[in-house]
């Protein structure tokens, strides 16, 4: 009650015009200092200036700090509850802070991730029955900004001492996906792809978007300010995390192969990659799904730290820009002075003062503050505006021309990169070929083997009768060809004979050894021998051999090729 009274008093002081006085006083000084951190909320840089220049003026610090604090009341953040040590840091140190927060909250983050993101992945992977796995994986990658909101939700609230429970995370999860994020995702992600600058700074800009909920020009201005302060560092963070993600995928893959205990596992892995390279993309299913699993596990591990690092940088940016450390100090000061206010309020109460009287007291305080501001230290002697382009130290007439060249170069490189990426996608298009349900089915039987059409429709209904008719007509080669094609057709369509492009007649014979019973196997070997004699020695089979082959045709009862 009493603290509310105190804050109401501060609000009154603000509404009385004191705030404008502070702005009039501080902003010209900040501009003269070349403060690049001038934001859409222009009162925030005051803290930096105050921190550096007005430390010897406790009354002013108290006064202005109280006003600044007042501007944050009613928001979701309560800086006095912050659980981390807030001070201006180097950006890599800020990344360390973010990583430390991730480590501290890791069990909670992992549990929340498993309950929210992993089910979504399972749902998406289920789509690989209907869509190519490559596209599904692209979708999983594409939706990364949505996943990042889960750890960000937990970390941002934990920072202010209100770590959400898993139930709260689950309750918030649909909102993360649908409430405003779909819209945000669809206008943001294309930008992430087209402009590497934004993609490389997603860890920072996405955090700002999610936490500040700004849109339009305010959002753009905000991003520019944040990127000016920490753009290069956040790009470094993205590069490092991307690299770790890739390394982790292959490390997990190698670990998995090693764990199988198969000494030839590593060689088998390399063979599988080589096979994939030479057979233009058909990846072995076990390798494909191991890679998918490795990718998702590595994304889980790296993404949590990536979000933590981005959040650390974001906090540091705000500390630099808005003087959170100063603000926290003021709040502590205000807390200590709350006792004085309590006494004042007590006297006010005992005097029967009503709310109107408190307003009057506020007017007195306003007058007192005005008195303070009239002191020489707050006097504005001169307002001078200076344009950077007219600076004599940097009088370079070709600047605009050079800037144009640079801009052209930038766009040329951008177009080049896009073209290169498109080319890369085109060259590796086999990686996105349709897989999933179709690959899980038995591969369709080949239509031609060694140049012979072995489809059932290309063969007569009664192969044996047709072969006998040809033999009777003196066409031994035709008869043998029918028998051989009929046998192959039966083996391919009924016994699923695995035939590769480079297989020869004897390779087919070898393949039948484990597939069919001895009678058919021996007959096929005999028939192949006779067929090779016809094909490569251009010699007709002996009548006795031909009669034997016609009499013992073992594929008759199942209709040959049918």
């Amino acid at each position: 009650m009493l603290s509310n009274t105190f804050l109401k008093w501060i609000q009154t002081a603000k509404s009385a015009g004191l705030w404008d006085a502070v702005r009039r006083f501080s902003l010209p000084r900040l501009r003269r200092r070349g403060a690049g951190a001038y934001t859409a909320a222009p009162w925030k840089p005051c803290n930096n200036w105050i921190r550096s220049k007005l430390s010897n003026s406790p009354s002013v610090r108290w006064c202005i700090g109280a006003l600044v604090s007042c501007s944050w009341e009613g928001g979701r953040m309560r800086l006095e509850d912050v659980s981390a040590v807030i001070r201006p840091r180097g950006q890599w140190e800020a990344v360390d802070l973010g990583f430390a927060m991730t480590r501290k909250l890791f069990p909670r983050l992992l549990a929340a991730w498993s309950l929210t993101v992993v089910p979504l992945w399972i749902l998406l992977l289920g789509l690989s029955w209907y869509f190519p796995l490559g596209w599904v994986l692209t979708a999983i990658w594409w939706l990364k900004p949505i996943y990042d909101r889960v750890p960000l939700f937990i970390m941002s609230r934990s920072l202010f001492g209100a770590t959400p429970t898993l139930r709260e995370v689950l309750r918030a999860w649909p909102g993360m996906i649908f409430r405003r994020n779909l819209g945000v995702l669809f206008y943001r992600v294309p930008w992430l792809l087209v402009l590497p600058h934004f993609a490389w700074s997603r860890a920072l800009t996405a955090t700002a978007i999610d936490l500040e909920q700004q849109t339009g020009k305010a959002l753009k201005d905000r991003q520019q300010v944040l990127l000016r302060l920490a753009g290069s560092r956040v790009s470094g963070l993205v590069a490092l995390c991307g690299l770790y993600e890739m390394i982790l995928v292959f490390a997990l893959l190698t670990l998995g192969v090693t764990a199988t205990g198969d000494p030839t596992g590593a060689t088998g892995l390399m063979d599988a990659f080589v096979d994939m390279a030479f057979s233009k993309g058909e990846m072995e299913p076990w390798l494909k799904w191991t890679l998918v699993l490795g990718y998702l596990v590595s994304m889980t591990l790296v993404e949590l730290f990536y979000v933590g690092g981005g959040f650390g940088i974001y906090l540091n940016c705000r500390t630099h820009l808005e003087g959170w450390d100063v603000e926290i100090s003021f709040r502590r000061l205000a807390k200590r002075l709350q006792k004085v206010v309590t006494v004042l309020a007590f006297f006010a109460c005992t005097a029967g003062a009503s709310a109107i009287e408190i307003e009057k007291a506020a007017s007195k305080e306003k007058a007192a503050i005005h008195e303070v501001l009239k002191q020489p230290a707050f006097e504005i002697h001169k307002v001078q505006q200076r344009k950077l382009t007219s600076d004599k130290d940097w009088d370079f007439s070709g600047g605009e021309w050079l800037a144009s060249i640079g801009q052209i170069l930038y766009y040329a490189i951008l177009v080049g990169v896009v073209v290169w990426l498109a080319w890369l996608l085109y060259v590796n298009r086999h990686m996105f070929q349709r897989t999933g349900a179709r690959t899980l089915q038995k591969p369709s039987a080949p239509r031609t083997i060694m140049g012979l059409d072995v489809t059932p429709e290309s063969l007569p209904a009664d192969i044996l009768a047709a072969a006998m008719a040809r033999w009777a007509a003196g066409d031994a080669r035709g008869a043998l060809s029918l028998l051989y094609r009929g046998s192959l057709s039966w083996l391919v369509n009924h016994a699923h004979l695995p035939v590769q492009e480079g297989d020869t007649e004897n390779d087919c014979v070898r393949h039948t050894r484990k597939l069919v019973e001895p009678v058919r196997r021996d007959y096929f070997a005999d028939l192949t021998g006779q067929w090779m004699l016809v094909a490569y020695a251009e010699r007709d089979p002996a009548p006795t051999d031909m009669e034997r082959l016609l009499q013992s045709w073992p594929f008759r009862e199942q209709g040959g090729a049918q």
Partner: protein, 321 residues
């Protein structure tokens, strides 16, 4: 005149006899023996790569013994001169005239041990003999008596102080054969044979045919018929090595010719008078492995030439007949 089909049954029998004799002293290396025999029947030369002490000299000595041929061996060293290989003229004081002293290449089977230890000039002298089948000494040409086969070895371990054969000269070898340690049981047999009385000596091997039989065999192999589809398959294989990603240097036309020559030899060894795609396929690895060079990035990744070639063989379309 084409040899009769039953000649090849006889040829197969002859090859079987030679193989059986050589296997008595060259144990556990049947594939190597078959490949060397195929090269011998095709009239080509063989480059052998393998660890020392795996019986390469035994193989050549035994092979020479089976048909009563001559055998010579040259140990290549950095100071070996071309004339040490081919021969030279010598002034004979007693007859007051120059006489030709023929070098070790005048033989039927020549073992050129560690050919990459000699400088390029000496290597070139031998390779010229292999190609031309004749030696020119002081302007006078001397034709080698057939059959002639060189079996050159390379030491894959020591690379210090060696002169690797350039690709163009490697192409003159019909085959490159890899020789590895025998299996446990076969190695035990070799050790036991030596410990229990020294085993069978090469001089104890039987001569199963004559030089003339070998020449007849070689002629018959050369005259074997090959249908165009099988030739096209050999050419497709050779061409596939040129268009494959990851291969820096593919096999030339000589590679395709070598494939058909060795394919013919394999067919004859199987007793057939016609070549099948399987013969070409069996010949592909030993015939092509020294004619292709894989790209450095593939080599760094641990990929071998044989693995690359196996991929090519697997994906190259078999003949359409």
């Amino acid at each position: 005149m084409d040899p009769q089909p039953n000649f090849f049954a006889h040829a197969a029998q002859l090859v079987h006899s030679i193989r059986s004799e050589v296997r008595k002293v060259f144990i556990g290396q049947d594939d190597v023996l078959d490949q060397v025999l195929a090269a011998f029947l095709a009239g080509g030369h063989v480059l052998v790569e393998g660890k020392p002490g795996l019986g390469k000299t035994h193989l050549i000595l035994a092979l020479a013994r089976t048909f009563g041929g001559q055998f010579r061996r040259i140990q290549f060293t950095p100071d070996l001169m071309p004339s040490d290989v081919t021969g030279h003229t010598l002034y004979d004081m007693s007859s007051q005239e120059f006489r030709v002293r023929k070098g070790p290449v005048f033989t039927n089977l020549l073992l050129a041990d560690e050919i990459n230890r000699a400088p390029a000039k000496t290597q070139a002298a031998l390779l010229e003999v292999m190609q031309e089948w004749q030696v020119t000494i002081d302007g006078e040409s001397h034709v080698l008596a057939p059959p002639f086969m060189t079996l050159a070895t390379q030491n894959p371990i020591e690379q210090e102080g060696t002169y690797p054969l350039p690709e163009a000269q490697l192409d003159r070898f019909l085959m490159k054969v890899l020789i590895d340690y025998p299996q446990q049981a076969e190695e035990e047999r070799i050790v036991n044979d030596l410990l229990n009385g020294g085993g069978l000596k090469i001089s104890e091997l039987a001569q199963v045919c004559t030089v003339q039989d070998v020449l007849d065999l070689q002629r018959a192999v050369g005259a074997l018929q090959v249908v165009p589809e099988v030739v096209a398959y050999a050419v497709r294989l050779a061409r596939a090595t040129r268009g494959t990603q990851g291969i820096a240097l593919g096999a030339g036309t000589r590679g395709a010719i070598a494939l058909v020559r060795v394919g013919k030899a394999f067919a004859a060894m199987a007793g057939r008078d016609f070549v099948t795609p399987d013969d070409i396929k069996s010949a592909a690895l030993p015939v092509l492995r020294h004619r292709v060079a894989i790209a450095p990035e593939l080599a760094i990744s641990g990929q071998t030439v044989d693995q690359t070639l196996e991929g090519i063989i697997r994906t190259t379309e078999a003949p359409r007949r």
